[in-house]
C-alpha cells in the first residue's frame, strides 16, 4: 500500500443556499480543491462523491455522474465517478474509498467530494429523509425521530452518569463560539447555556439548540500518493489511518446505547494503524449531530473517561486552547450539517488546522488531527487520522 496525502481542499459556504443547486455547490468545492492542489482536470483519475439522499432531497440519483459531468470530467475526460452512501457518514466513507483507491495504486490523483442540498424540500420532508438513516420498519414506524433516538441516548447517559442538560448545552455554546470564527459556518452567532435551555423542546431532554441544523453545502479534497505530494504543495497533509466499523442499524439492538461501539472499534483500528493514541491527537472534528453525540464521541474516542464527557466539556477542556480542542470548525451544530458533505468538511478543517491556516480558530502547533463521522444513530463510524509529517 502507498502512503496518501491531501494536496488540496475547499469548502463552500454552509447554510440555506436558496439560490444555488447541488451541482453548483459541488462544482465550486471540487474546482476550488483542484485549484488549491494545483492540478488540472486531466490529472484526475477518479472521483468519489458522498451524498446521503439526493433522491429524497432533490429527486436526483446518479449523483456521481452528475457531478463528474458538471465538473467537466465527463465529456472529454471520462473520469470514473462513484457515489458513496452511508447516511450522515457518506462523506467520510467517500474519503475512505478515495484513500484506498490511491493507496492501492489503482488511482493517482483522486478527488473526494461530499455534498447535500437539503433546503429544496420543507423541513418535514427533510426530517423524514434523515429518519431513513435509522431502521424505518422498527424505529420509524413506531414514531421515532432522529432527535428522539439521540434523546434516549442522552436520557440514559444522564441517568447513569449524572450528565446534565447544562453540560449538553455547553457543547452547543462552545461550537457556536468556534463557528463564530469560521467564515463558512452556517451560524456565526454566539449563544449562552440559557439560550439552549430556553429553546423549544424537540425530544426531551434535547432542545432545538441541542440539534444540528438542516444545511446546504459541499466540500472537496484532492488526494495524491505521498511520494509525489510535494510536487503540488509545500504543505501536504498525510493520512495516517483510515478506519471504519459497523453496528446494528437500530439503536434498540445495541449492547449499550450510551456507547457507540462502532466508534470504539473504528478508533481502535485507526489508532493501531497510525501507531498513535488519543494523547497524541492535537485537534479533532467529531460527529456532533446532537450535543449528546459529541459527549459520547469524546468518551468513545478516548479523550474522556466514560461518563465524564459532560464534565470535561463544561471544564473547557475541549475548547480551542484547551487540552483537546473539539470541533474547531463549529462542528455539525454551528458550521452546519449538509449530511453527505460533513465527513469531507471535517477533513478540510483538520487539513486547514495542520497547515496552520485556520486563522482565529487555529490550534497552536497542531501536528496530528482526527475526524470522526457517524451514520445514523451509530450503525456506521468512520475515523481518519492526519499528520503534518509523513
Amino acid at each position: 500500500m502507498r502512503d496518501v496525502a491531501i494536496i488540496g481542499v475547499k469548502n463552500t459556504k454552509f447554510g440555506e443556499l436558496w439560490e444555488r443547486s447541488l451541482r453548483d455547490i459541488v462544482v465550486e468545492a471540487g474546482i476550488g480543491a483542484i485549484q488549491d492542489a494545483g492540478v488540472s482536470g486531466k490529472d484526475i483519475s477518479a472521483l468519489y462523491v458522498g451524498n446521503m439522499s439526493g433522491g429524497r432531497f432533490i429527486e436526483q440519483e446518479h449523483i456521481g455522474a452528475l457531478i463528474a459531468d458538471y465538473s467537466g470530467l465527463s465529456k472529454n475526460l471520462h473520469v470514473p465517478a462513484t457515489r458513496v452512501e452511508a447516511a450522515c457518514a457518506s462523506g467520510g466513507l467517500a474519503l475512505r474509498q478515495a484513500i484506498m483507491s490511491v493507496a492501492s495504486g489503482y488511482s493517482d490523483i483522486v478527488v473526494a467530494a461530499g455534498a447535500e442540498k437539503m433546503t429544496d424540500v420543507g423541513s418535514e420532508e427533510a426530517s423524514s429523509a434523515l429518519a431513513a438513516a435509522a431502521d424505518r420498519e422498527w424505529e420509524g414506524m413506531a414514531g421515532a425521530t432522529f432527535p428522539g433516538l439521540y434523546a434516549m441516548i442522552a436520557r440514559l447517559h444522564m441517568h447513569r452518569y449524572g450528565t446534565t442538560s447544562e453540560q449538553l448545552a455547553e457543547v452547543a455554546v462552545k461550537n457556536h463560539k468556534n463557528g463564530s470564527l469560521n467564515p463558512i459556518a452556517q451560524y456565526r452567532n454566539r449563544i449562552t447555556v440559557d439560550d439552549v435551555l430556553n429553546s423549544i423542546m424537540v425530544a426531551d431532554p434535547l432542545h432545538i439548540y441541542d440539534c444540528s441544523p438542516i444545511t446546504d453545502g459541499a466540500s472537496a479534497v484532492v488526494l495524491a500518493p505521498a511520494d509525489v505530494a510535494h510536487k503540488y504543495t509545500d504543505t501536504p497533509i498525510y493520512i495516517k489511518a483510515t478506519a471504519q466499523a459497523s453496528d446494528t442499524i437500530a439503536l434498540h439492538d445495541r449492547r449499550d446505547i450510551t456507547t457507540l461501539d462502532a466508534t470504539v472499534m473504528a478508533a481502535k483500528r485507526a489508532y493501531s494503524m497510525a501507531k498513535l493514541g488519543p494523547e497524541d491527537i492535537d485537534v479533532v472534528e467529531v460527529h456532533d449531530c446532537f450535543t449528546i453525540a459529541e459527549i459520547c464521541a469524546i468518551e468513545d474516542l478516548g479523550f474522556a473517561e466514560k461518563g465524564k464527557g459532560g464534565i470535561v466539556t463544561a471544564n473547557g477542556e475541549t475548547a480551542i486552547g484547551g487540552r483537546i480542542p473539539v470541533n474547531t470548525s463549529g462542528g455539525l451544530k454551528a458550521c452546519g450539517h449538509p449530511v453527505g458533505a460533513t465527513g469531507i468538511k471535517q477533513a478540510v478543517e483538520i487539513t486547514t488546522q495542520l497547515r496552520g491556516e485556520a486563522g482565529k480558530r487555529q490550534v497552536d502547533g497542531a501536528e496530528y488531527g482526527m475526524t470522526h463521522n457517524v451514520g445514523g444513530s451509530g450503525a456506521t463510524a468512520v475515523i481518519h487520522i492526519f499528520s503534518r509529517e509523513r
Binding site: 418535514e124 424505518r136 420498519e137 422498527w138 414506524m141 413506531a142 421515532a144 434516549m152 436520557r155 434498540h252
Partner: protein, 133 residues
C-alpha cells in the same frame, strides 16, 4: 407513514409481538430475524410469541413528531427490553411525568398512526405501565 404492503407483511409481529428464537443458542429476536447473529448458518430459527412484558431502558417525550404522528404530540417513545432479552422501540401510554427508566411495562394493542384523514389507519403494539398504581 409507509406503504401498505410493507406494513402488512409484518402484521403478526406488529399486532401480536410474533418474533423468532434460535434453537441452537437460545437467543430471542424481536423484531424477528430469520438468520441467527450468533450461530449464523449453524442456527435454527423458529417462531416465538413474546409475552409482552419488559422494562424501560430509556425514553423520550417527542414534541416534534415523525411523519404520520403529528396528531399525537407530545408522545412518549421508549426502548423497552422484553423479559426474554431483546429490546424494541415503542410508544408508552400514560402520564409522561410518571415514566422512568427501569419501569415495568406490558404490551397493548393500539392505533399507531394514520396516512392523513382519508388514508390507512395503522394498528400495532404500544406499552402501558405493568403495575396499576
Amino acid at each position: 407513514m409507509s406503504s401498505v404492503p410493507r406494513f402488512w407483511r409484518s402484521l403478526g409481529s406488529r399486532y401480536n409481538l410474533e418474533g423468532t428464537r434460535c434453537k441452537e443458542c437460545g437467543e430471542y429476536y424481536y423484531p424477528p430475524r430469520n438468520f441467527c447473529v450468533n450461530c449464523r448458518r449453524g442456527g435454527h430459527i423458529e417462531p416465538y410469541n413474546f409475552k409482552g412484558t419488559g422494562e424501560i431502558i430509556s425514553y423520550t417525550i417527542i414534541h416534534t413528531a415523525a411523519e404520520g404522528f403529528e396528531g399525537q404530540t407530545p408522545y412518549t417513545l421508549a426502548i423497552i427490553q422484553l423479559d426474554e432479552g431483546p429490546s424494541l422501540t415503542s410508544q408508552v401510554i400514560g402520564d409522561p411525568e410518571k415514566i422512568h427508566i427501569g419501569m415495568r411495562v406490558r404490551s397493548v394493542f393500539r392505533k399507531l398512526g394514520e396516512d392523513g384523514e382519508r388514508g390507512m389507519i395503522y394498528y400495532g403494539t404500544k406499552f402501558v405501565p405493568a403495575d396499576p398504581e
